[in-house]
């Protein structure tokens, strides 16, 4: 199966500091790819390069097997890449429907088409089997952390996106809500989306992911199938960049 999104030999520097070295990364439809790595390993930078917030210095960016150039977040959004950032970016004073369509409202003439938006939002939430909100017209401020994360994810899915990138979606959640969000992440992949999950939590990673990509000091240490790796191996890849035959040798990909 061809990956929907593939990066080859990505380099990225900020001034004299090279943050990404020759990174290869591929994301497959219908799979959850966990992106792991210690603080400062380059996860956020890699995601921002994918999302078009940073331009890459060199390397290939392939989408659906074709070479593309991403220069702005808009380019990425047009391809169907949506990023759900850690701080959610929801407006507390707006309701769920208003948040989901923020900046991309449906209108008839100059008037907002509330009914269509409400229907679409309801359908999307239903397709994600979200049944935890009382009314899709309630303000986001009245939602729990898990519900807010759900809305943020639903917002990303609404646009027939192909790749959804979740930046630590469970970091601030309790046990029950984490389970709820992970279930949703799995459901997204089962619907055929390519999901990238950034997480520090190995339990979460092993619970939902199909592949694990481990970054170490700006290099891709290894990208393995979750079923092939063990908990300890992944931790080793994160902390030292190598584990047995896997990983980097003297700073170069094996």
């Amino acid at each position: 199966m061809t990956p929907v999104l593939e990066l080859r030999g990505i380099d990225k520097s900020f001034g004299p500091v090279q943050v990404l070295h020759d990174v290869d990364f591929s994301v497959h439809p219908g799979e959850v790819t966990a992106l792991v790595g210690d603080n400062g390993a380059g996860k956020s930078t890699l995601v921002k390069c994918i999302g078009g917030i940073h331009a890459v210095d060199s390397g290939e960016y392939l989408f659906d097997g074709k070479n593309v150039h991403i220069n702005s977040p808009r380019d990425a959004a047009e391809l169907g890449i949506e990023i759900v950032y850690q701080d959610l970016a929801l407006c507390d004073n707006l309701d769920i429907v208003q948040n989901m369509f923020l900046g991309r409202e449906h209108r008839r003439g100059i008037v907002l088409d509330e009914d269509t938006m409400e229907e679409m939002a309801a359908r999307t939430l239903e397709s994600l089997s979200v049944r935890t909100v009382k009314s899709i017209r309630q303000h986001v401020s009245s939602l729990s952390g898990g519900q807010r994360q759900t809305v943020a994810i639903a917002k990303a899915v609404l646009w027939n996106s192909k790749v959804v990138i979740l930046d630590e979606p469970t970091a601030a959640l309790g046990v029950a809500q984490t389970a709820q969000v992970l279930e949703l992440v799995r459901r997204l992949a089962d619907q055929g989306l390519a999901v990238v999950l950034i997480s520090h939590n190995m339990n979460d990673v092993f619970a939902v992911s199909d592949r694990i990509a481990a970054l170490y000091l700006g290099r891709m240490a290894a990208q393995v199938r979750t079923s092939d790796g063990t908990h300890a191996q992944v931790v080793e890849l994160i902390t030292s960049g190598r584990s047995g035959d896997l990983g980097l040798t003297n700073g170069v990909s094996a």
Partner: protein, 415 residues
């Protein structure tokens, strides 16, 4: 899935009692909305009518409306800026500058009224664009920018009216705005039109939503809303259509002040923009979470500039009304307490100083409260000193209610 309640597709059937309960829940949760303003209005009116029976006369009622009109319109514009969490301290003197432009074009240039009005509003738009650009592009806090403009425009008004002369306005159309009244029949006709239009709009929307299987307001709630509008409007028009001249044989004085339908039209327009257009939605979004709005592709700078343009444009309309009421423009037009009363009106009505919450209707409710205090205390023979003290206390109270309801909302998870 601990907090599972119900599927979003199967909402409970909406009922009157459900709506009332929902409203009560919101109020308890800290979302007081217009409640404090309405409550204050009832208390103030009761107190003044008991202490000074002349407060309740038709003559005073008409007077009250024209008295509060200019401040109300300026406050309506301020709502747009306050929604973004910004403030415009220069709106008062901006209205003065625009009124001066109007007066000069009418008298010295002898231009027709519509040209002068257009020029005055255009002046407001230019002022707003300048203020908004400085705030958005240079990133200077709006408080400082508009404080500078407050001082600057004060000087500009002085220069425009040549160091303090009083320019009197004789143009009949302009003077009519705040000093003439609609024929009684026209007052009734406009009210009927408004009520029927409102009812039709509400019913149509409810029917359309029901036909698509969406939650719609119960018919009884719509009937209650329309009924309330009809009764309140009916009583107001009835009172205003009573003869209030001291000597009806010489000159008859009846009808709704011309300025009232103007304010109603501005209210409908403003409410439409805020509630039914993407622009309005984006204003709330920027006020609620500017970063989220930016990530959603909303041009935050442009929203800021446009809000200041609307604010100063409305201030121009307020200035025209003030000039009409005084039939003249002097260095104090839009000065002294006008701006503070206008900000007070918006906040008393329930618009938050923290951004993201407010309606154009708030400005009207708050403006009425301010006008009632000013008018009632005047009738009681209190000095300006006492009036200022009371208005200041009411503003502090309103801002306190705003801050407390936010705290409470944060605690209950509502806002």
């Amino acid at each position: 899935m601990t907090d599972t309640i119900a599927s979003p597709r199967a909402p409970e059937a909406p009922t009157i009692s459900g709506s009332v309960r929902g409203y009560a829940e919101r109020v308890r949760g800290g979302d007081m909305g217009a409640l404090p303003a309405v409550f204050g209005l009832v208390v103030l009116c009761t107190v003044f009518s008991i202490l000074r029976p002349s407060f309740l006369t038709p003559g005073n009622f008409a007077n009250l409306l024209t008295q509060g009109a200019a401040i109300t319109v300026i406050a309506m514009g301020l709502v747009f800026v306050l929604l973004l969490g910004e403030i415009d301290l220069s709106a008062g003197f901006a209205s003065g500058v625009c009124a001066s432009v109007l007066a000069i074009l009418l008298t010295e240039q002898g231009l027709p009224w519509y040209v002068a009005v257009l020029a005055a509003i255009l002046t407001g738009v230019v002022i707003g664009a300048a203020l908004g650009t400085v705030v958005a592009k240079l990133g200077i806090p709006s408080f400082v920018v508009t404080l500078a403009a407050f001082l600057g425009f004060q000087g500009l008004v002085l220069l425009l009216v040549k160091g303090g002369t009083n320019i009197s306005i004789r143009d009949q159309t302009i003077v009519a705005i705040a000093n003439k009244y609609l024929p009684p029949a026209l007052g009734w006709a406009l009210l009927a039109l408004g009520v029927v239009g409102y009812a039709a709009l509400q019913l149509l929307r409810a029917r359309k939503r029901a036909s698509r299987g969406l939650v719609s307001d119960p018919i009884a709630l719509i009937a209650a809303r329309v009924g309330a509008l009809a009764v309140l409007g009916g009583v107001a028009v009835y009172i205003l259509n009573l003869e209030r001249s001291r000597n009806p044989a010489v000159v008859s004085l009846t009808g709704v002040p011309v300025v009232v339908p103007i304010i109603v039209i501005l209210l409908v327009l403003g409410t439409f923009v805020l509630r039914r257009t993407a622009y309005g939605r984006h204003l709330y979004a920027v006020g609620g979470n500017a970063e989220a709005a930016r990530r959603a592709g909303i041009n935050v700078d442009r929203m800021k500039i446009s809000a200041f343009v609307i604010c100063s444009g409305m201030a121009a309309v307020g200035g025209i009304i003030a000039a009409s009421r005084a039939s003249s423009v002097d260095p104090n037009t839009g000065g002294s307490n006008v701006l503070l009363y206008a900000v007070g009106a918006a906040v008393i009505g329930g618009t938050s100083l923290f951004g993201g919450k407010g309606r154009v209707l708030d400005a009207i409710l708050g403006g009425t409260v301010v006008a009632v205090i000013e008018n009632g205390m005047g009738l009681m023979g209190y000095s300006s000193g006492v009036k200022y003290l009371v208005t200041g206390a009411v503003l502090l109270l309103a801002a306190g209610v705003d801050a407390l309801s936010r705290k409470r909302a944060a605690a209950t998870g509502l806002r």
